[in-house]
């Protein structure tokens, strides 16, 4: 009898210990998820501030080049009264999708499509979907020149060259409101603002993940 009671007490103690261990494991998992959210938030915040700094310097370059172009071409040739107010769609647009990101849930994701061909069903422009790990793509494909025997360009290279030509035409069309001959500084300003635009799309993505992580943290 005493032995049975002892066994029962022992089993009860084992059950309560198992329950306590299970509870502890669940708490550790919850803390782990919280830590993940906090890390995600801090990473996004750091990325946001770094990218804002980067866009700040790119915009400064653009304003400086624009001022130089205005100085060489004249104030009357570069001002807002020359802007085209006839019907025309934007050449650079965005794709917005809802993306599932780990513990953050669904987060809006912005992808930039620059210099898409107007009036066509499918955009011929380059897709600059930005990831934090990927570099900002250069609009002009820069290929190394190799002396010696040159190989025939493959079909893929021809397609890339054709797309680059289209982009050059779109770029020139965008500057045509300022006249036929424009200062190289104005072209430089255009490239600076294009780069700033790509960075701003990255900032928009970083902002979305930061706000999502923030909401997760403050939910508790």
């Amino acid at each position: 009898m005493a032995g049975d009671e002892g066994t029962e007490i022992y089993e009860e103690r084992e059950e309560s210990m198992d329950a306590a261990v299970g509870k502890e494991e669940a708490e550790i998992k919850t803390e782990g998820k919280e830590d993940e959210n906090i890390l995600q938030f801090l990473d996004s915040l750091d990325g946001y501030l770094t990218l804002m700094d980067s866009v700040n310097s790119k915009l400064r370059e653009g304003w400086f080049d624009l001022a130089s172009a205005r100085h060489s071409m004249g104030t009357l040739r570069i001002n807002s009264t020359l802007l085209d107010l006839k019907y025309h769609p934007a050449a650079s647009t965005l794709q917005v999708t809802d993306q599932e990101v780990g513990s953050l849930g669904s987060v809006p994701r912005f992808a930039l499509s620059k210099w898409a061909s107007k009036g066509c069903g499918s955009p011929k422009g380059k897709d600059f979907s930005t990831d934090t790990d990927s570099e900002i793509g250069s609009p002009l494909s820069q290929q190394l020149r190799h002396r010696g025997v040159s190989e025939k360009p493959s079909a893929k290279d021809e397609t890339t060259l054709a797309a680059d030509e289209e982009i050059k035409k779109e770029r020139a069309k965008s500057l045509s409101v300022f006249g036929g001959l424009v200062s190289p500084k104005l072209r430089g300003a255009q490239l600076s603002f294009e780069t700033a635009l790509e960075t701003l799309v990255e900032i928009a993505n970083m902002r979305a993940s930061m706000l999502s992580a923030f909401e997760r943290i403050t939910e508790k």
Partner: protein
């Protein structure tokens, strides 16, 4: 985000701008400008003659449009309509405050950073 309605996917969404002349001209050169059949643009050039009411109306219009995904707002202009910007909390269109030529970017005034700085305040730390 818990409890949020899913965002509909959009192709060819626009970038709207409310900024000074040089910033607008620069981004228009980057191909962002759009003029529709009714001659409505996706940008507002703010100068000395632009009233706060005009800026408010433009912000409300751009934030209500389905075809706009990002609104670029110079920070000094955002400060003029700060109550409107801070009370905006939709994920799309995303509001991005950018510096201008004469007014550098100040993180202390950024509406997104103001929203999250609560996490770093002494009150929130003492509650944990």
């Amino acid at each position: 985000m818990a409890g949020r309605a899913p965002i509909p996917a959009r192709n060819s969404a626009l970038i709207a701008m409310i900024a000074d002349e040089d910033t607008i001209v620069g981004f228009l050169m980057a191909g962002v400008g759009n003029v529709d059949i009714r001659r409505k643009t996706n940008y507002l050039i703010v100068d000395s003659k632009t009233t706060v009411r005009q800026i408010e109306d433009a912000f409300k219009e751009f934030s209500a449009r389905d075809d706009i995904a990002i609104i670029l707002l110079s920070q000094y202009i955002a400060n003029m309509i700060r109550f409107l910007v801070d009370s905006y909390n939709k994920p799309v269109p995303a509001i991005l405050e950018i510096p201008s030529k004469d007014h550098p970017y100040d993180p202390a005034h950024d509406s997104v950073l103001s929203r999250v700085k609560y996490l770093f305040s002494a009150e929130s730390v003492s509650q944990r």
